[in-house]
Amino acid sequence: MNDNAPLLKIRDLRIEGRSDETWLPIVNGIDLDLHRGEVLGLIGESGAGKSTVGLAAMGFTRDGCRISGGSVVFDGQDLVSASADAKRALLGKRIAYVAQSAAASFNPAHKIIDQHTEAPVTHDVMDKAESQADAMELYAKLRLPNPDEIGFRYPHQVSGGQLQRAMTAMAMSCRPDLIVFDEPTTALDVTTQIEVLAAIRRIVDEFDTAAIYITHDLAVVAQMADRIKVLLKGDEVETADTRTMLAHPTEDYTKSLWAVRSFARPVKPAVAEGSVPLVSVRGITAAYGKVDVLRDVSFDMHTGRTVAVVGESGSGKSTVARCITGLLPPRSGMVEFDGTPLPADYRKRTKDQLRQIQMIYQMADTALNPKTRIGDIIGRPVEFYMGLKGRAKRARVNDLLNQIELDPDQYYHRLPSELSGGQKQRVGIARALAAEPRFIICDEVTSALDQLVAEGILKLLARLQDELGLTYMFITHDLATVKAIADEVVVMKDGKVVEQGGKAEMFRPPHHPYTDLLLSSVPEMDPDWLTDLLAERGADNLGDAAIDKM
């Protein structure tokens, strides 16, 4: 075989998706070459068709989609016209796939190692005992704790990051020539993400595997890929080497993607000494059942400012929000609003107290009733709190829609399903504003959105704060967002406040070691960032291990 021929050659790939009775194009003619040992990054916002292309590289389409043209040639064999048997012989053995959510992709009823050995045994690459021994070796290579034992656990018994690494090991089980990674770290915390990224990179290097790495996170793709291909609405925008692409993007769209991370608010003057905080959390200890999730948490939030609460999942940052809103009455401690204590249970609060504190949720999909029209979603708090009806209510809703930059005539009668993710999040903001609150809790409001859209939401929130003098509590695990919008930062870990203070001092050393770990784990656009970081931390001192040492 000619060594210069690409391992995977996609030419003029066209994919269509079924919508009611007609077929709509999803991918309009993509070309792609992938050589042995090369990692190609596919980036783009949601709906760009990057996952669809990734699956098509394995000759596969989702239900309701079809390949309508072009060819996918893997090692000389066209997968578009190949028979099911021929594809079955390739998939799992020579082409493997790592999905976004390992937790959803493992079968919960079987042990991890049994799922690992399935492919090698089916494809006659190894027998079961060999494959088990090999699995343990791979687990060790991927730096999973207790590699000899971890495979014999069930998927729910290991953490998300470990599961994602186990899935990478599984994809490696037959030593494939090509692996498709579909957003393997998107669902993970920054500290866990590092381990998975490092593991993937190490193993891809070691076995000289070609890979397609799909993500919407530019900083991640900068670490992983040799070449980057940018997709937009099923079309290719540009392709270039990672370094070239980062340094000199040619297309406007790529430049706008690169520019997103530059959004930052002007620093506000320090809070005057002795002023009464708008919301004050005083020594809260809270528990679900018998397990304490918050231990003696205290911090203040002053009028007109944004306090970012950061920490990885399970650190208790959302639980603080539940205590403030009164959904989870704390075991001890209390919440003061404007100097007066709030009743612990939301059912005991007055309508006015409820009105003052509003929430914006992470998943706009579940935060808006899918059967209620936009006008009614926003109109309900207007009617409920302000007592407005009929024309006055309609006028107020129109005002609110204008404030969130949606045209009232166009959107008033729509259902949430007829809106994009960013628009839904804006409606969530309008619903909170409709109550005319002074304090808004934003729970990971941008983490489910693409970067361009997320930036728009952050700018909107910043503008509303300036106009209306709102106070935000901003719960997030994304430190880029914190840098962009926060005035003060509260770092949480294991239900305790680790460090708190103004943004400037938080981002300036010296830090609490945990803050340091969080900060240094945020991927940067520099392609050498991961390499440097690993060298600095020492390969064994990653994530889990690093946290355990604290």
Partner: protein, 388 residues
């Protein structure tokens, strides 16, 4: 000996399937290339059944009922196709869009339900005679041909005390379907409200209601209904209409346990949504939560369950009537008609039309059940967003 025939038959079918697939592969179509032998066997079996069916339809003299069934199915299919064609081209845009994506089964179901509804509502106009009217001509045979013992005034004949069977069949739609509908609505009001309440409030109320429902569900429903009907008939005494009311309530309560289960399950997956939390934090009351936030999101599964439940209630009423404790004479009812006319099935060899009499009432029940299920399937399919 028969075993040998079966084995030979199966082997022949497998061979036929293999030949079929090989022939298909020669044409080079990808559908044949990825076909496994069991699928090919299925095609061969299907072909044999179709050929046998055509043979029986045209050449076997005795297969009268088979011929009727085939004609009936083709007739219904044509009617459903015409109905769908009209729906696609007449009426407001929203209705036309519904019809465009509708499978033939669903349009058949809707057409049938419409016809039943019209017959039930206008029974008094459509029926040639009253349901309790007794004529002197007893046991007139169906067909309306005097030479064969029929009478043109009674196209389906009369029963053993001289009531017109066609009229009773038409009035049966009103009684059986009407009572079944009322019962199902009652069951849904009861079970749905309690189920949502249990899901929203949770805690001890949920436990109390659920355990009560468990107890009711633990008793076999038909036997339980029979038992309660026996008690009710003692209470009702000579007031026949009161017994019907009792029956509606008893069946509604028994069936509401199933509705409760569904409403609670659907409701509890909705109450964890963020929009419910947002509404709670707004300070909304229980009524708003249940009827404005939860109910609109639960309509699809509840509507589907309504269709199924309606069939079950309908069958329960027919069973109770067949056993003699359901709808009381002289009200016409399909379940009772099946029981009263069941002897006629013995005449199948001599007069197929006469033997079909009990089957007509049974067929009316079966047809409605099938129609409702077609519509329910279609709605479930749409609400779950399944493709293909």
């Amino acid at each position: 000996m028969i075993v040998v025939y079966i084995i030979v038959g199966v082997v022949a079918l497998i061979a036929a399937g293999w030949v079929f697939r090989a022939a298909g592969r020669a044409t080079g179509r990808p559908a044949f290339r990825d076909m496994d032998l069991s699928t090919a066997f299925g095609y061969a079996l299907g072909a044999v059944v179709v050929v046998w069916g055509i043979y029986a339809f045209f050449f076997v003299e005795a297969a009268v009922f088979f011929r009727w069934a085939v004609q009936g199915i083709i007739g219904f299919a044509i009617a459903a196709w015409i109905f769908r064609f009209i729906g696609r081209h007449v009426g407001p845009d929203s209705v036309r869009r519904q019809f465009r994506a509708m499978p033939l089964t669903a349009s058949f179901g809707i057409l049938t339900i419409l016809i039943y509804a019209i017959v039930a509502i206008f029974a008094g106009v459509l029926a040639p005679h009253g349901q309790a009217e007794v004529f002197a001509n007893v046991n007139v045979l169906p067909g309306g041909d005097p030479a064969l013992g029929g009478d043109p005034a009674f196209p389906l004949g009369t029963d053993q005390i001289g009531r017109d069977l066609l009229s009773r069949l038409i009035y049966g739609a009103q009684n059986t379907v009407g009572i079944a509908f009322a019962t199902t609505v009652l069951a849904f009001l009861l079970g749905g409200t309690l189920g949502f309440l249990a899901a929203t409030v949770g805690g001890w109320l949920d436990n109390l209601l659920s355990r009560m429902v468990d107890v009711l569900m633990a008793i076999p429903s038909l036997i339980f209904a029979l038992l309660l009907m026996t008690i009710a008939s003692a209470w009702a005494g000579s007031e026949k209409w009161l017994l019907t009311v009792y029956m509606v309530v008893i069946i509604a309560v028994i069936d509401s346990t199933r509705v409760y289960r569904l409403a609670r399950a659907v409701g509890s997956s909705i109450v964890v949504m963020d929009y419910i939390e947002a509404a709670k934090l707004r300070g909304e009351g229980m009524g708003y939560l249940i009827f404005r936030e939860i109910l609109p999101n639960a309509t699809a599964p509840l509507l589907a369950e309504f269709g199924l439940r309606f069939c079950f209630v309908f069958l329960t009423i027919a069973s109770l009537s067949f056993l003699g404790v359901g709808i009381q004479p002289p009200l016409a009812d399909w379940g009772t008609m099946v029981r009263d006319l069941s002897q006629f099935i013995n005449f199948a060899a001599f007069s197929p039309l006469t033997a079909a009499l009990p089957l007509m009432a049974a067929g009316a029940i079966a047809l409605l059940t099938v129609a409702v299920n077609f519509v329910v399937d279609w709605m479930l399919h749409r609400s779950s967003g399944l493709k293909g």
